[in-house]
């Protein structure tokens, strides 16, 4: 019986039957392999007698999970060392240099703090979305568009005093970043479009919008053809903290971090965000529509990334140029997951991964290591920590018999 032109999916029972049929074939093959196995057993002896069974842990692992985390980090560092050796660079020396130049001078510590500001803000936003299991991969684009929004105001009204101009720029960055978060949220809840792909495509589009503006309408006529806007007026630049190279933007980080911690810890909505991720239905019973929650979370997420773009353009570059986009948005995803979406840990992890970038700059200069080495380290660390999570959730029981 065909009710529609489209082919309908067979019921699950069909698969059970079919699977049984496939099994008969594989048993025949297995009989053959038993002979091989008996032969192997005579050679390898007791090695073959070990069976490993996996059990879910009833209680969290506690300090052991820190040990697992360290082991995972060590493992990925070993592989990174090997990769350095592949290109004929000193493996241990290179990694040592990386850490020394990242964390062991006051200049480096300042550098780390400067770089950890945008990573922290993006990561905080990403983490809020991840809590609801909304996979916002779009921090990179939201960051770029936040910078575009802030720059628009800075170019439009350069004469205004800082007390007016800076809040306006922050507002514009929030609107631009928030909008870039809202689009995938709307498409997700209204059209069921997968947010991973939409946010990722919006990254490419946002970066191309930025390119279009700095190569075209916003290009500084006195820049000798370089793609960059005019330098911002003094009113559009976030000031420095006296005696350092840090800007006051770090206060925004502290405020945003504290606010999100309080929000998640002490408010009803924050609590529902945590339960909502694991079970959307629970949030619905608590009188909250899941779609609204998704939109709220994505706008917040985009705004935070937008702020990062604003600070980077205003305080560090003093203008908009393509080099503002350096992958902070992707690093933010790594940070968020390493920090298990906890605001305090995000602070620590963004500082460490900012350190990785700082150390890598020395490595690039001294050992001519390509910049992509940083991506490799980020990817490897995330993969090994993800794999290491297995040991904190499950325990292995090793049985010997025979």
């Amino acid at each position: 019986m065909r009710t529609s032109g489209r082919e309908t999916k067979p019921p699950a029972v069909f698969f059970v039957d079919a699977a049984r049929e496939a099994k008969e074939v594989s048993t025949a093959l297995r009989h053959k392999s038993i002979m091989v196995r008996q032969f192997a057993r005579q050679i390898f002896g007791t090695f073959w007698m070990i069976r490993i069974r996996i059990h879910k842990r009833q209680e969290p692992l506690g300090w052991g999970s820190f040990l697992v985390f360290t082991a995972a980090l060590a493992f990925s560092l070993v592989i990174c060392g090997l990769l350095l050796a592949v290109q004929g660079k000193p493996a241990a020396g290179g990694l040592l240099l990386l850490f020394k130049s990242a964390f062991f001078s006051s200049w480096a510590i300042e550098d780390c703090l400067i770089k950890s500001v945008p990573i922290f803000l993006c990561s905080l936003g990403v983490a809020i979305a991840f809590r609801l299991q909304v996979w916002n991969i779009g921090a990179e684009g939201q960051y770029a568009l936040g910078a575009v929004g802030a720059t628009w105001i800075a170019l439009l009204a350069p004469g205004l005093p800082a007390a007016v101009l800076l809040p306006l720029m922050l507002l514009a960055a929030s609107v631009a970043g928030g909008l870039w978060g809202l689009i995938p949220a709307l498409l997700k809840v209204r059209m069921r479009a997968n947010e991973i792909i939409v946010t990722l495509m919006l990254n490419y589009i946002a970066i191309l919008i930025l390119d279009y503006l700095v190569y075209g309408p916003w290009k500084d006529p006195t820049s000798f053809g370089f793609p960059m806007t005019r330098e911002f007026s003094t009113g559009a630049v976030v000031g420095m903290i006296a005696g350092t190279r840090l800007n006051w933007g770090i206060l925004i980080c502290v405020a945003a971090g504290l606010a999100s911690w309080i929000f998640l810890r002490f408010t009803r909505l924050g609590f529902e965000l945590q339960t909502g991720g694991e079970n959307p239905r629970a949030a619905r019973y608590a009188g909250l529509s899941y779609s609204r929650l998704v939109m709220l979370v994505m706008v917040l997420s985009g705004m935070l990334a937008g702020w990062a773009g604003f600070l980077e353009a205003s305080a560090n570059l003093n203008r908009l140029q393509p080099s503002i986009v350096v992958g902070y948005g992707y690093t933010a995803i790594v940070v968020a997951w390493l920090a298990r979406l906890n605001p305090l840990y995000i602070g620590i992890a963004s500082y460490l991964l900012a350190g990785l970038r700082v150390g890598l700059e020395t490595l690039q200069l001294d050992l001519q290591v390509p910049a992509a080495f940083g991506q490799i380290m980020e990817g490897l660390i995330l993969l090994t920590v993800l794999a290491g999570g297995f040991f904190t959730r499950y325990r292995l029981e090793i049985r010997r018999y025979g």
Partner: protein, 306 residues
């Protein structure tokens, strides 16, 4: 449009759609077994570099192509280890794999930027290439394009008419039932991940060996992600993947042609075209789709019994 303009454009669409086709088919195979692999972009890049280096070393593009597939499968194996062995989150693992793969290709490929390698050249199929319209569009390409015509058919036959294909689908739809009837669920998922990764590697290899013949960093330019979106567009069916891949190939070819003719449109706006189209296609197909085309167990891990 007159045929003198349309035919070369469609031929270019087939050529630039081929890498996307390989990658999309790889992702379909992987997702049908229940594993979501978001590392396509990274796997394609590694496949592209491996193929390029192997072809340069051995002088044989065929060897290069095979090595590209092998390295794609190897990198997908990392995803398999994390998701099937260590039961990690499939979304995060895939993203990490993209970051890692992009980094690896750029890191190891930096010394070779701008260098050339032996590659595949166009070979017209005798007789068939003389067919008016269809001949020049479909049958005046390189060998890898012809091979890519066969892959959807083989994948379709495998998934639809063989026991093993059925078992793979069962594992992706209803792993508990498959497990209960004695199938090795994890084994079939490994097959999906590795064979899928091999196809993604082929997609990358096509880019470096047939599409450009030389190495540049970031060769894929988001094609891996387009492939992930096309799986949804294709409703996880190999034939529809072909349609989607050539559609995107067409847009990319069209955009290059516009750039080459020197329109007044800025290039950054033109470059946006495939990405904007991806969003549009995704929205339309998710909206129209009933939402149950996806393998029911997609993205879930096999939990051990307590």
């Amino acid at each position: 449009m007159n045929p003198e303009v349309l035919v070369p454009l469609l031929a270019a669409a087939v050529q630039s759609g081929t890498p996307i086709l390989y990658a999309t088919l790889g992702e379909i195979l992987t997702e049908r077994s229940g594993i979501l692999n978001l590392g396509v972009e990274g796997i394609m890049l590694v496949g592209a570099l491996a193929a390029f280096l192997a072809a340069r070393l051995t002088g044989s593009p065929v060897v290069g192509f095979l090595i590209g597939g092998l390295c794609g499968a190897l990198l997908a194996g990392v995803h398999g280890m994390v998701c099937l062995g260590f039961r990690g989150n499939q979304v995060v693992s895939g993203l990490a794999l993209t970051i890692l793969g992009t980094g690896l290709a750029n890191y190891l490929g930096t010394p070779f930027v701008g260098k050339a390698s032996p590659g595949f050249d166009a070979v017209a199929v005798p007789l068939l290439s003389r067919v008016p319209l269809l001949g020049p569009i479909l049958f005046r390409h390189d060998l890898l394009v012809y091979a890519s015509y066969l892959v959807p058919a083989l994948l379709w036959l495998y998934l639809r008419y063989t026991r093993w294909g059925l078992a793979l689908r069962a594992v992706g739809e209803y792993p508990e039932a498959a497990e209960a009837s004695g199938l090795r669920v994890v084994g079939y998922r490994w097959i999906g991940v590795l064979a899928g990764g091999c196809l993604m590697g082929f997609g990358g290899a096509y880019l470096s060996l047939a599409y450009t013949h030389l190495w540049t960093n970031g060769l894929t330019a988001g094609r891996g992600w387009i492939a992930v979106a096309l799986v949804i567009f294709a409703f996880w069916k190999p034939w529809r993947a072909m349609l989607g891949a050539y559609l995107f190939g067409g847009v990319m070819a069209f955009q290059f042609r516009l750039q080459a003719t020197g329109t007044h449109l800025p290039s950054s706006l033109l470059l946006m075209l495939p990405y904007a189209l991806t969003v549009a296609v995704l929205v339309v197909s998710s909206w129209k789709g009933r939402g149950d085309e996806a393998p029911a167990a997609l993205g879930t891990n096999i939990e051990p019994p307590d």
